[in-house]
Amino acid sequence: MDGITKRFPGVVANRDIHLSVSKGQIHAIVGENGAGKSTLMKILYGMQRPDEGEIRIDGTPVSFSTPGDAIAAGIGMVHQHFMLADNLTVLENVVLGSEPRRAGLALDFAAARKKIKGISAAYGLDVDPDVLVEEIGVGQRQRVEILKVLYRGARILILDEPTAVLVPHEVDELFENLHGLVREGITIIFISHHLDEVLKVADAITVIRRGTTVASVDPASVTARQLAELMVGSELPSPETRESTVTDVVALEVSGLTMAAEGGRLLLEDVAFTIHKGEVLGIAGVEGNGQAELVEAVMGIRAATGAITLAGTDITAWSTLRRREAGIGYIPEDRQRHGLLLEAPLWENRILGHNSGGIWIDRKGARADTERIVAQYDVRTPGIDVDAAALSGGNQQKLIVGREMSGDPVLLIAAHPTRGVDVGAQAAIWDHLRDARAAGLAVLLISADLDELIGLSDSLKVLLRGRIVADVDPANVTPEQLGSAMTGAGEEA
């Protein structure tokens, strides 16, 4: 495998990506969420087609229009979320879709079993073909997934965030398996944003930022800190001399917040923090370390244990609706799925989440207030009767920010408020957040953009594997230091 060149024009997720992976290596691709790793992998696996650029395997240009083509070319993908049927055995799962036939009709399970045992032994995967998938653990399921692609003759394996679902000792086991595979001549592309893991296992690292490859580095000669710097970009935020508006009045107090996933893995563990009026509390962390769960717990969307107090009132047992009515504004992470009704006009979207009061919708009021938001937040639209789907991402987001700021909220939960938003809209949203903070709003800010976190927050906490592992003073921390703390690379800021 020689070299992959890909180019994407314009504003899409990937542009001008260059990646070359050597045979028999573990090649890691790191980058923030939304940096374009997944898109790149989907292209490699034939799920999406590149607009420009080409893929070469062993020097031969290839073109995939379906995953089937990629499999035929020897590329296999192990998805982050397992795609196994629980009620079938390992053997049945592995052969599913490429069942060996005997005499054209009958399934040849004996041959399949032999082949699976052969692969399992050759690569040290230790998989028993005859147990039900529902009876085996997460680590072993992952090995089944790997076996599945090897069974189909893959020589290049793509692993998408393979460690996200594993506990530490399973991670070590996985890495041993990966080394075993590489020894047998398999090439592995390993996607992750856990830098310490990447440094431990990879033979080569490519960093992706904002949709393009920014560096290829040798793991032996790079530290987690330098890698983090490459991942988030090294420009320092423009130093902001501003008055602190933090007051003594507690707006939100969270203590002992714990949430468990099915199977007992803790998504949040004993999280505690306090936000005062006029304070922006930033939560830093690599995605998937509990931020989404934290937000949904505070909003009452997902159940968690612990205590949540809003302006002195215990709201732990309250429904989402009641929390919203009590003055929590919510800018969700995924604006199209959670923040908008895409197929409804803007003025109806103004009502979403603010639909309390009498029996009847205040149509006139909603329309007037939508006009206000459109003017005040500079939402570029021909009118308020346009469907939300017709607006660009930045304008959709400005509408949401305007909506959640209306009605004088006590607390604003802003999850990635400027993700996927163009520069102009980003600055505008930041200004609005600062103004609201000056007016006494408490803000819980979740972001993957470290500059945004450092620039806006009055205090910062770092979330790692569901626990708050560090308090950071945003006044004297650099994105690199923060990045290291986030990835658990040791040295705290």
Binding site: Q336, L341, A344, I361, S392, R419
Partner: protein, 391 residues
Amino acid sequence: MTTGTQAPQTPQVPQHADTFANRLVGRIRLNGMMALAAPLLAILFAGLVTSLVLIITGHPPIDSLLAMVEFAGMPRTMVGIINLASAYYLSAMAVALGFRMNLFNIGVDGQYRLAALCAAAVGGAVTLPKPLHIALIILVAVLVGAAWAGIAGVLKARRGVSEVISTIMLNTIATGLGAWLLTSWAVPVAGSNNIGTKPIGESGQVPGISLIPGAPNQVFGLFLLAVLVGIGFHLLLNKTRFGFDLRSTGLSEPAAVASGVNVKKMIVIAMLISGGMAGLVGMPQLLGSSYSYGLDFPPGFGFTGIAIALIGRNNPIGVAFGALLWSFLDVSQNILNFEKVSPEIVTIMQGVIVLAVVIAYELVHRYRIVAEQRRVSRELSASARTEGAAA
């Protein structure tokens, strides 16, 4: 304080709410002329296909269709069409309410039959002053329909059982339960082998309306009930906060959850309302002409309602046209026997209309989405600065 040179833009393709299924059941709106063009084209197309079938089977297509139209124009037939359409309309609106929230209530059929049976039994058992008697019968029908549908709602909210499966099963159970209840409550109907509930007394009967001049028969008085349900449906969905929550849940469940809607509660309430509306389906007939629920009470309105809800895109006005069209085809097919044409030709036509409508809506929708996005970007680029190609 930005890091990169160019801000990332995610392509704003509406991926979630905008699915074929959503368009099919009309949770996505079609505007203006387009909304009209699609069904008209579909009916035209269905007419062509039917004509083709008529030609192949050796009948004159124009004459046959004209005979149907002519027959439908007779005052007596018009009354029949309106009466049948009332039941179809109520049934379709019950289905439509579920559709607007992503619930597929296939069980309207069982709900209305059970409701009509219980209402007829109660109505026959008591005698009350006129308005009260009628109100009681209708109330019983609504409650029984709601309760029967509510079972499916609770099963879905509590145990995650698909309402499609549970309502189908409840239909079958309703058939068995209805037969058993009928035999326990029934009295023989004079002069026939039929059995039925004790006839409802005069105080529980709703007089007909002479809506069509020159007709010997009358329109069911409870035709007005269908009109009221249509108006109520519109008000509930478009004007009330509850209706907004219901539509939000249908358009995007995650967004509804984030906005504070208790989706489980919503599922139960929506099923209760849908079932309550289903309970009304048999009322115009029961209180307007049968006065008793017997073995000959018409079944199958629930399934017809699904087709009509699709044609009318779950919109009260659209469904009214759908119900009248369907009823027209059903009633006027009787004349085809005289033309020596098999009346089953109408079934073909009904099937083709549903298929064609679905396809036409899909085509029109695709056209409209593209047109709207173009329009927005055009209007924005006209105002000097644009925001990028995203929209």
